[in-house]
Symmetry: C2
Subunit: 608 residues, 2 copies
C-alpha cells in the first residue's frame, strides 16, 4: 500500500490485481487504460520528427526551489504568499516514516521466514508447472502462426548511449574518420586548433594500427569488483581526449561523431525491425545549459529513431563537482537538473528545442558505483539540499528521494498540460547496501540490476507482489559483480518476478554485432531457457519500456495493459496462454493469502 | 611411438618435438615442411575453380578389395599373382596388438596415477602462468598493430553441411522458395509430379505461417541424452519430405535448394573474410554411384567457396542398410565408399568431376550416436568385412580401423601421383565407451568432441603429449550430453591440449546469425577467457583444419609448421609469444621426464 501511494503520486505503475487484493476500492472505478503513464507515440512516417511548431503557449507560472524541491506558483503574488499551484508535493517526514516502516519489515524475523518460504514455494511451483506443461506450452507456440522468438518485439531496457556500439564498431568508426578527414579541426586547446591527425600524433598512434586490444575498452578479468577500473574503460586507448571526441555530446564538433555512431546503431535496430532500445544520455547538473545543449545536439544531428526512446541518466557525483567548486550546494545541482524541465513545460514556446526533445525522453536513471559507502544516514534530520554544501556526497537514498520528488511534481505539472510524463528508473541493487532497494521500492517505477534482491527474501517477495520490473544484465554483472552461473535471473524468472534482459554496455561486454541477441542467446544456452521463457522476457521488456501506449498495443496486443491471460495476445507475443494463466493464478494465490490474513487480523482486532 | 607409426603411414601429423624426445632419429633428417599432409591451395581468383582439364593420365592400375581393404595392382598379371603395388598395407594383427597395448596402459594403476598427477600439475602451472603473465601477454597484444581477435583467422573445424545454416535462415529460405516458385515441380512420387505448393498442401501447412517454433529444428531440453530425438530434428516440421527437398544433395531438383543455402552461408563467410568452415557432406556407402552424384552436385550448382573446405562423413549405419537388404556385407559398404576414390585417383581422366571435387575434400569423418552399444568385440578373430554379413552393426573400433586402413592406402597412392591426401577426423569421445578414444589415438589425425578424455587421465595425457587436435563444440554438448558449465574445454585449454571451437550444427544449437562467433562469445563470457586464450584457440583451429600449406602460411605466418614460439607470427595470430614459449617449455618439460625415465630404464636393463 505504501508503494501504491508513491506510484500513484508520480504516475508510476502499480498492478491493479495487487491493488485490488490490498482492498483498494478506487482501482475498479478507473478504467485500466487511464492509470497508465503518458508517452508520446512516434510521429507518423510522413511527419517531420523535428518539427518545432506545436509548442503550447506560456502558462506564466513561476518556479522556485525550496529545500531541494521545485515549487510552482501561478504568479508572482502567489509566490510571495508562498501558496504553490495545486500539485501534490512530497512530504519528507511521511517519507522517512514509510521508509523506516519498510526497513523494519525487511529485518523482522517472522516476515523473513514467511517470505523465504513463499519464495521457495514459488520456485518449486514453477518447476512443477514446467514438468507438467512444458510440452503443452510448446505445442501452443508451434501452432501460433507467423510469430516466433525472432519476430517478437524486444526492448533493450538498460543501455548507456556512450557504450551502445560494440568495440569493433567504435574501432571501425575511429579508423574511418581518420581515413576520410584527418585534417579536420576537431578540438581546440588554449586557443590552438587541433586536427584529427594532431590528436593521434600527440598520442603517438596511427589509427591504422589500432585494434580492439589497443583500444582497450572491453571489460576483462581485471574489472571484476573494480567499478573504478571499469569506468576508465570508457576512455579509448586510455585517452580521455578520444572519449571527449567520440563519445560525448559536447565538444568542438558539437558531438557530431558520437551522434553519427548512435545513428548507425539506430539504423541497425531499424533494419532488425523487432529490436528497440532505451539508451541513457547524461545530464550532470553542473549548470542549467546542459539541457538546451543536449536538445540542440539531438535536433542538429537528427538523432531521432523510431526504434529508440531516451532516458536521462544523472551520475551521483555531486562530491566531485563540489570539490572542484563547480557547485555551491546539492540543491543547485538539483535545480540545474530540473529547473530547465519545469521552464520548458510551463513555457514550451520559449524552449522549443527542449520541448521537442522531451517528447522522446521517457524517464530518468540514477547512476554510479553503488558499492561506494556514504557516511551520512538519510533521515528527516538530514540537511536539506539547499544547505547541503559540504564536499561529502549525499547517500544513495537521498539522491533517490530528491530525484523522485522533483519528477513527481514535474509529472503532475505536465499531466495537467496534457504533456508526456517520465518514469524514474534508477540503477539499483547492483552492489552496495540492501537499503538501496528499499528506496527504489518507494520511488522507482522500475529498476536496473536488482541483483541484491537475492539477499533479502522480504524485499524480493515485495518486488514480486508489486511486479516491479527489473532490467537485468547478466553479462555486465559477469564482468563486474557476479559470475554468470550465479546470476539470479533464472531464479527470479521462475518465481515470477518481472524481469527483462538488457545489455548495459555493449562496448565493454559484448563480442558480436547484435548485443541484445547475444544476451538472449547466452541466457538461453546457459540456463536452457525455453522459447516460452524467452518470449516472456521479451514481453516483459516491452511492458517495462517507455514505448507508447499505441506501440505497446501494436507489439503486445490491444489489451496489453490488462493483467493475466486476457492481457496477452499470443499472436503478437508468442507467450503461451498456459504460462500467462499460471503466472496470474500464482500471483492471485499469493495475494489472497495476504488479504485473508489482513481480514482475519481485522476481525481479531474487532472482537478483542 | 605407436601413434607416430600410424600417423606416418597415413600422412597424418605427429609433433616433431614429441618424436624427438621419443628418440626418433629420422625426425631431424627431414625438413619440417616435408612431413605435412598435402592439400590443394584454392585456385587463384582469375582461375575457374570448376576447370576439368588438368586430370592426369590413366595409370592403368587395378583395384580389388580383400578383407575390407582395397589392394592396388600394377596390372592384371600382378593381380593374378596377388602381388600388390608397393604401397604400405596395414596389418590387422599388429594393429590389435598395438591396440591392446594401449588398452592395458590406460588401466594400469601406476600409469594412471602418474598421468593424473602430471595433468594436475599442468593445470596448476597454467594458473600460475596466468597470474604472473596475464598482463604481460595483454601488453604484447596491445602493442601488436592491426591484429585483434576479430581479424585473426578462425576455422569452424566441425560442422555438418545439412545443419550449417541457422534455423532462421532455413525458415527464410523455405518461405522464399514458396513465395517465388510455388508451382515448380520439386518431387516425383509414384510417377506423379508434385509441385512445391502440393508438398505444403499435403502437410496442411502454409509456409507464410511457418515459424522457427513450428519448424522445430532447434534442440531443446528434450534432446538431452536423446541422440535419437536429436537426429529427428533434421526434419523440418517433423516432415522427412522437407528434409529431402531442402537438406539433401540427391532429390528431384538435384539438391538445388540445399546448394543454394550452402552458398548463402559461404557468401556470409566470404564477407566476414576471417571465418572459414569445414562442412561435412555424407557418403553412405549404399552404392558406388553416390560419389559421382555428389561431385556432380558440387560442380553443377557451383558450390565452391574459398572459405570452405569439405569433409566427407560416413554414418555408421551399416545395420540399417543391411536390414533393408541394400547391402550384402560390410565389405561392400567399404567398397562403395572407397573404390570410386581409388578409381578416380588411378584414372582421373575418366572421372574428371570426382577428381576435381576431391581437390576440395580434405578429410573423412565417421559419425553417429557413440552411445549405442555393440555386442561385438573387435579383435584379429573378428570376421573380416567381406564375410561380415550379419545384420549386426560392427563396433566403433571396427569402423575406424577399416576406414583408416583404406584412407592410408589411398593417401599413399595419391602421394605417389602428387595428388592431395586426406585426413581421418572422426567424431570421437562424445559419449559411449572410452575405447573409442583409443581407436582414434591410433587411427585419427584429429577428432571432434573428445569429451570423454575427462574420464581417462592416461588417454588425456597421451592426447596432450601427441598434441592431437580436438574440435570441441560446447554448445552442442550442452544440448546433448553435458551441461555447459561442466564442459572440459576450459580445463583442456589450460592444460595445453590442442583444442579448437566449432559449432557442430548451427541449425539445431545457435541463435544468432554468426554461429561461430556465438560459440566464441559464449565461451569467452562463461569462462572469462582472455583475448590471448581466444586467439590461441583460433590459431589451433587453423592448424587443425584442412586449409592448404599456402593458406596456413598466409594466415599464421611463414613458419607456422615449426613448433614452439618460432612457429608463431604474432602479427598474424595475435597470440602472445610469452604464451607460445610457456606452452613449448611445458611440453618439452613433460617429454623430457619421460625420455629421462626411458633412458634410466635402458641403463638399468643394461647393467642387470
Amino acid at each position: 500500500m505504501i508503494r501504491e501511494k508513491y506510484a500513484r503520486l508520480a504516475y508510476h505503475r502499480f498492478p491493479r490485481t495487487t491493488a485490488r487484493y490490498l482492498g483498494d476500492q478506487r482501482v475498479d472505478s478507473v478504467p485500466p487504460e487511464e492509470g497508465l503513464p503518458d508517452f508520446h507515440p512516434p510521429p507518423p512516417p510522413q511527419e517531420d520528427p523535428y518539427c518545432l511548431d506545436d509548442a503550447p503557449p506560456n502558462l506564466g507560472y513561476l518556479v522556485c526551489m525550496q529545500g531541494g524541491i521545485l515549487f510552482v506558483y501561478d504568479n508572482k503574488k502567489m509566490l510571495e504568499r508562498q501558496e504553490p499551484h495545486s500539485l501534490p508535493y512530497p512530504d519528507l517526514e511521511t517519507y522517512t516514516v514509510d521508509m523506516s516502516h519498510i526497513l523494519a519489515l525487511i529485518t523482522d524475523g517472522p516476515t523473513k521466514t514467511y517470505c523465504h518460504r513463499r519464495l521457495n514455494f514459488l520456485e518449486s511451483k514453477f518447476s512443477l508447472h514446467e514438468m507438467l506443461n512444458e510440452m503443452s506450452e510448446f505445442k501452443e507456440l508451434k501452432s501460433n502462426p507467423h510469430r516466433d522468438f525472432y519476430n517478437v518485439r524486444k526492448v533493450d531496457t538498460h543501455i548507456h548511449a556512450a557504450a551502445c556500439m560494440n568495440q569493433k564498431h567504435l574501432l571501425r568508426f575511429i579508423k574511418h574518420t581518420y581515413k576520410t578527414e584527418p585534417d579536420r579541426t576537431v578540438a581546440e586547446k588554449r586557443g590552438r586548433k587541433i586536427t584529427l591527425r594532431q590528436v593521434f600524433d600527440s598520442l603517438h598512434m596511427d589509427p591504422y594500427d589500432l585494434t580492439v586490444d589497443s583500444l582497450d575498452v572491453h571489460a576483462g578479468r581485471q574489472t571484476f569488483h573494480r567499478f573504478d577500473k571499469f569506468n576508465s574503460k570508457y576512455n579509448p586507448v586510455g585517452a580521455s581526449e578520444l572519449r571527449d571526441l567520440y563519445l560525448k555530446t559536447e565538444n568542438y564538433l558539437g558531438g557530431e561523431y558520437f551522434a553519427r555512431m548512435v545513428k548507425e546503431v539506430a539504423r541497425e535496430l531499424e533494419e532488425s525491425k523487432y529490436q528497440y532500445s532505451e539508451p541513457r544520455l547524461s545530464i550532470y547538473g553542473r549548470n542549467p545549459k546542459e539541457w538546451p545543449k543536449l536538445a540542440r545536439w539531438f535536433i542538429q544531428h537528427k538523432v531521432y529513431s523510431p526504434n529508440m526512446r531516451w532516458i536521462i541518466q544523472v551520475p551521483r557525483i555531486y562530491d566531485i563537482f563540489r570539490s572542484k567548486n563547480l557547485l555551491p550546494s546539492f540543491g543547485k545541482m538539483l535545480e540545474n537538473i530540473f529547473l530547465p524541465l519545469f521552464e520548458a513545460t510551463i513555457n514550451p514556446q520559449d524552449h522549443r528545442e527542449l520541448h521537442l526533445f522531451l517528447k522522446y525522453v521517457t524517464g530518468f536513471d540514477s547512476v554510479d558505483d553503488e558499492s561506494k559507502h556514504s557516511d551520512h544516514m538519510f533521515s528527516d534530520k538530514s540537511p536539506n539540499p539547499d544547505i547541503w554544501t559540504s564536499e561529502q556526497n549525499p547517500p544513495y537514498s537521498y539522491y533517490l528521494y530528491y530525484m523522485y520528488a522533483n519528477i513527481m511534481v514535474l509529472n503532475n505539472l505536465r499531466r495537467e498540460r496534457g504533456l508526456s510524463t517520465f518514469l524514474f528508473r534508477p540503477h539499483c541493487g547492483e552492489s552496495g547496501s540492501i537499503t538501496h532497494l528499499v528506496s527504489a521500492f518507494l520511488t522507482a517505477d522500475n529498476i536496473s540490476h536488482g541483483l541484491l534482491l537475492k539477499k533479502s527474501p522480504v524485499l524480493q517477495y515485495l518486488y514480486y507482489l508489486a511486479q516491479i520490473p527489473i532490467a537485468m544484465s547478466p553479462l555486465s554483472n559477469n564482468s563486474l559483480f557476479l559470475e554468470y552461473s550465479k546470476n539470479p535471473l533464472r531464479e527470479f524468472l521462475h518465481k515470477g518476478l518481472h524481469v527483462s534482459l538488457s545489455t548495459d554496455d555493449p562496448m565493454q561486454f559484448h563480442y558480436t554485432k547484435e548485443a541484445l541477441m547475444e544476451e538472449y542467446a547466452i541466457a538461453a544456452q546457459v540456463w536452457k531457457l525455453s522459447t516460452c521463457d524467452l518470449c516472456e522476457i521479451a514481453r516483459n521488456s516491452v511492458l517495462q519500456s517507455g514505448l507508447s501506449h499505441q506501440e505497446k498495443q501494436k507489439f503486445l496486443g490491444q489489451n496489453y495493459y490488462k493483467e493475466g491471460p486476457e492481457g496477452n495476445d499470443i499472436r503478437k507475443t508468442n507467450v503461451a496462454q498456459i504460462r500467462m494463466a499460471f503466472r496470474y493464478e500464482t500471483l492471485c494465490n499469493e495475494l489472497s493469502f495476504l488479504s485473508d490474513a489482513m481480514k482475519s487480523e481485522e476481525i481479531t482486532a474487532l472482537t478483542k
